[in-house]
């Protein structure tokens, strides 16, 4: 028989189909429930996995090729950066606080996303969905590693980076991001996709990465800019995956709508709370600022977010429940949190400082309705207090943490920026505290989950530390007098200025 085949030219779409979903089959020796045990319990109804539209069509041969090209460039640049003392090209060492928070709180999140996507990349019964999730799983470990590698050289010269692995598990403020990712991973596969794939990657990622990477560029940090650029095309794929996933769920069954909407409400609010850390970075930590947090929100939150939710309205999706509250809080959150961080700077593995007069003028220009009225007076008060006592303004009283987002309950009531917002719920005879209605709602929907949260502040007061602050610092790998405290008196400032003068003068 003549087997010579007229190899018909296949369309890219058909070819990709053969290279992915045609590989799968319906199991007959095992039940679907045995092979995909977690796909039912969340109540999401999927009738036809074949209706999944591949958000991108990338076969492994092209994946290896493109990614290897990016990897070569990335490591060439960070090698050169390390070799040429690239760290001396940053604006000044205040900038490093943003990097420290990033390495301690966000890079571990990349790793968690890697594990989470590997899990859902196995648990979803559709091959198209599985492959897309697996590619994100391998991308996310790339991001965790490129971030560690890019920041590794800073660790050699500056404080606050050295204990990032211990900080991730033990220090108090990282539990804001950790609990976010743990929450997503503890959820079922569909909720995970809404939490990370949609809310984080699609709705919130621009508010995190764009300001962060632009901040790096503005402040002369080539290493970070490089991992940012290098991750961009991966992120574009992840965003299309997140969007496809939500559309797929909504198109499959009308009963999915209320479930998905509740997840969007929840994860939007969870995300806003995590982003409050980013807001302090944008408004306070960058020596040379790109734009204010408010301006970033206007572009990436309001413009992009409104377009997105308008697009999803045809499925019956409305904007997230906490949207209006968030919109009002944008003008306050960076100031409120930064004032908190300044008071608790003995317990942070990064430096903070009182904004200079020039910085405060910038803040009043960017926040004309709030900064001068509510926040400049508080900074001035701290300044006066420090001048009078000759000692840094520290608040050794430990903050009460929100049971849900794990931030100190320092945000204010909607409608009244002079009143701290407190909410509480009683569950099984125990009283739990929250920073907002959004966080209380999340708890009330799933109290059996959130009562398990590990709260770092109670941990400090319990056995074996029993409130011993020095013991706590040892336990979290925080070096007192080096990693923490005011930038003005820090070793980082001293060394940076010394080294820079060596590099730029003949003394």
């Amino acid at each position: 028989m003549d087997m010579k085949t007229a190899n018909k030219k296949l369309s890219l779409k058909d070819k990709y189909k053969l290279f992915t979903r045609d590989l799968g089959w319906e199991p007959t020796y095992r039940t679907k429930e045995e092979v995909f045990p977690y796909v039912q319990y969340e109540g999401i109804k999927i009738h036809d996995w074949d209706k999944w539209e591949d958000p991108f069509r990338l076969t492994m041969d092209s994946y290896w090729k493109y990614q290897a090209e990016k990897e070569r460039k990335f490591y060439a640049i960070i090698d050169a950066h390390a070799q040429n003392n690239g760290h001396l090209h940053i604006t000044d060492a205040r900038y490093l606080s943003a990097l420290k928070v990033f390495l301690q709180a966000i890079s571990p999140g990349e790793y968690a996303a890697h594990k989470g996507f590997a899990r859902v990349g196995r648990e979803f019964p559709g091959v198209g969905t599985q492959v897309a999730c697996q590619m994100q799983a391998i991308d996310e470990i790339r991001h965790a590693q490129t971030q560690i590698h890019a920041l590794s050289n800073y660790n050699k010269f500056y404080n606050g980076f050295h204990g990032f692995a211990e900080h991730r598990d033990r220090i108090w403020y990282t539990s804001v991001a950790r609990s976010f990712f743990d929450d997503a991973m503890a959820a079922g596969p569909f909720e995970f996709m809404i939490a990370i794939g949609f809310s984080f990657e699609y709705v919130l990622t621009n508010l995190l990465f764009v300001p962060f990477m632009s901040g790096a560029a503005y402040n002369g940090d080539m290493a970070t800019v490089t991992f940012g650029f290098s991750a961009q095309s991966d992120e574009a794929r992840h965003m299309t995956l997140g969007l496809e996933c939500i559309k797929f769920m909504l198109e499959q069954d009308p009963d999915n709508l209320p479930i998905v909407q509740a997840w969007i409400d929840k994860w939007f609010w969870r995300g806003i709370r995590v982003l409050s850390l980013v807001s302090t970075m944008m408004d306070y930590m960058l020596p040379k600022r790109v734009m204010s947090w408010r301006e970033a929100w206007n572009i990436y939150g309001i413009e992009n977010g409104s377009a997105l939710f308008k697009d999803l309205a045809r499925y019956g999706i409305r904007a997230p429940k906490g949207w209006d509250h968030a919109e009002e809080a944008i003008d306050h959150m960076s100031h409120q949190l930064m004032l908190g961080l300044y008071q608790w700077k003995f317990g942070t593995s990064f430096h903070v400082w009182i904004p200079s007069d020039e910085d405060m003028d910038w803040l009043s220009k960017k926040y004309p309705t709030t900064f001068d009225k509510y926040y400049r007076p508080r900074w001035e008060h701290i300044k006066k207090h420090e001048a009078a006592t000759g000692a840094p303004f520290n608040n050794f009283g430990l903050p009460k943490l929100c049971q849900c987002c794990q931030l100190p309950t320092l945000f204010t009531e909607p409608g009244d920026p002079t009143l701290i917002c407190h909410r509480e719920s009683v569950y099984q005879g125990e009283r739990y505290h929250f920073c907002s209605d959004g966080c209380k709602d999340i708890f009330d929907n799933e109290p059996e989950k959130y009562i398990q949260a590990w709260l770092p502040m109670p941990g400090l007061m319990q056995d074996p530390l029993n409130g011993d602050l020095a013991g706590w610092m040892d336990w979290v790998f925080l070096k007192n007098g080096e990693d923490n405290g005011d930038y003005a008196t820090s070793q980082d400032k001293h060394n940076f200025e010394l080294w820079r003068s060596m590099a730029s003068s003949n003394q």
Binding site: M1, D2, M3, T5, K8, L10, L18, F19, D22, L23, G24, P27, Y29, R30, E34, V35, Y38, M60, D61, W64, K65, A68, E71, R72, Q83, N85, P108, Y111, K115, G116, A118, R119, R122, V127, Q134, A137, I138, R142, Q145, T146, I148, H149, S152, K156, Y158, N159, G163, A165, R168, D169, S175, D182, A186, Q452, A453, W454, P456, F477, M502, A503
Partner: protein, 330 residues
């Protein structure tokens, strides 16, 4: 002539991160170490999974293997994302060259019809087995503990997908979409393939990541790859004028050769940890090896008929010798 370029020399404050100093001493760390050790959350996990409240988010007790330190299971290739991707991109370059060599010279047209049929019957259904392997390694990565053990599994999973795609390309080249349809029909209903499909589906129902590692990466691949790619493609087909097929499966031969070093290293360290582990691994490998041997036998029979039995037995013996070098008596 060497020119010594001068830069401002600054004494670093420290060599590396605290967790790496603890493990390896106070010296600069490699990128493999920085990107692999202790980067998974270990303490103060916030919530139990709603999908299985019996488990922790990262749980060492979901497998019967017990390790004092899961990071001891390191990858001798020291693959982290970058080195992995660069290695595969190089291999892909030569695979691309092989495919275009075969295509441009019309070598598949020169392939004797019986060899072409053997290649199609044998290799095309295996794209489904490779997809099963992809899911299993994705599982081990997702649920296994400790990055040194789990990160090679996501690389392995993507390799499995790559192999499934190379096999699909091979099928298209040799027989068009009809060949893929026929291969899938054989996988689903052909008698010769049912034991193997059952094996793969049984693996898909396993939830112990280390047992799955044994069933898929040790036992099944340990017999299937050398039999199919070394004995049948590289020796049998190539020896009879089918070397163009061997060019199209070069990745698989090289890949098995490379990855078995990692698989063996994992077994060796896990078995060396305790008698408990050694006994457990022995039990698993024995059981899965027997099943794998009987699952691949009818596949090999398609090519070798009555001789297949001897061929598989030989391979089982070679497998046994390989595994015993890791300290696990079979």
């Amino acid at each position: 002539m060497q020119i010594d370029l001068r830069t401002v020399s600054i004494q670093p404050l420290r060599n590396t991160f605290d967790h790496l100093v603890r493990r390896f001493g106070d010296k600069p760390a490699s990128r493999y170490q920085e990107g692999s050790y202790d980067i998974q959350a270990a303490e103060n996990l916030h919530y139990r999974p709603t999908w299985d409240p019996e488990q922790e988010l990262y749980d060492t007790s979901i497998t019967k293997i017990v390790m004092q330190d899961w990071y001891a299971l390191k990858d001798p290739r020291q693959f982290y994302y970058s080195t992995y991707t660069l290695a595969r991109a190089r291999q892909q370059d030569s695979m691309e060259a092989n495919f275009s060599f075969v295509e441009s010279r019309g070598l598949t047209d020169l392939l004797p019809a019986d060899l072409r049929q053997i290649a199609l019957d044998l290799l095309v259904p295996l794209r489904h087995a490779a997809w099963g392997a992809n899911q299993n390694n994705t599982f081990i990565c997702g649920y296994g503990y400790g990055t040194t053990f789990t990160q090679p599994c996501i690389y392995h999973a993507m390799d499995n997908l790559g192999i499934a795609q190379y096999l699909s390309r091979l099928g298209l080249l040799l027989g068009g979409t009809e060949a893929l349809d026929a291969g899938k029909a054989a996988w689903l209903d052909g008698e010769a393939w049912q034991p193997l499909r059952r094996y793969v589906e049984d693996c898909l129902a396993l939830r112990d990541p280390f047992e799955l590692f044994v069933a898929q990466n040790v036992a099944l691949d340990g017999l299937l790859y050398p039999l199919v790619y070394e004995r049948i493609v590289d020796e049998h087909l190539a020896g009879r004028g089918g070397s163009s097929v061997a060019m199209l499966t070069q990745f698989m031969t090289d890949w098995f050769d490379e990855t078995r070093k990692w698989v063996d290293a994992v077994l060796k360290v896990a078995a060396g940890e305790s008698e408990h582990n050694r006994a457990q691994l022995q039990e698993w490998i024995n059981a899965w090896k027997c099943r794998a041997a009987s699952a691949v036998l009818p596949v090999v029979e398609q090519v070798f008929g009555a001789e297949a039995d001897d061929l598989v037995s030989e391979q089982v013996a070679a497998f046994k010798a390989r595994i015993e070098k890791t300290g696990i008596a079979l």
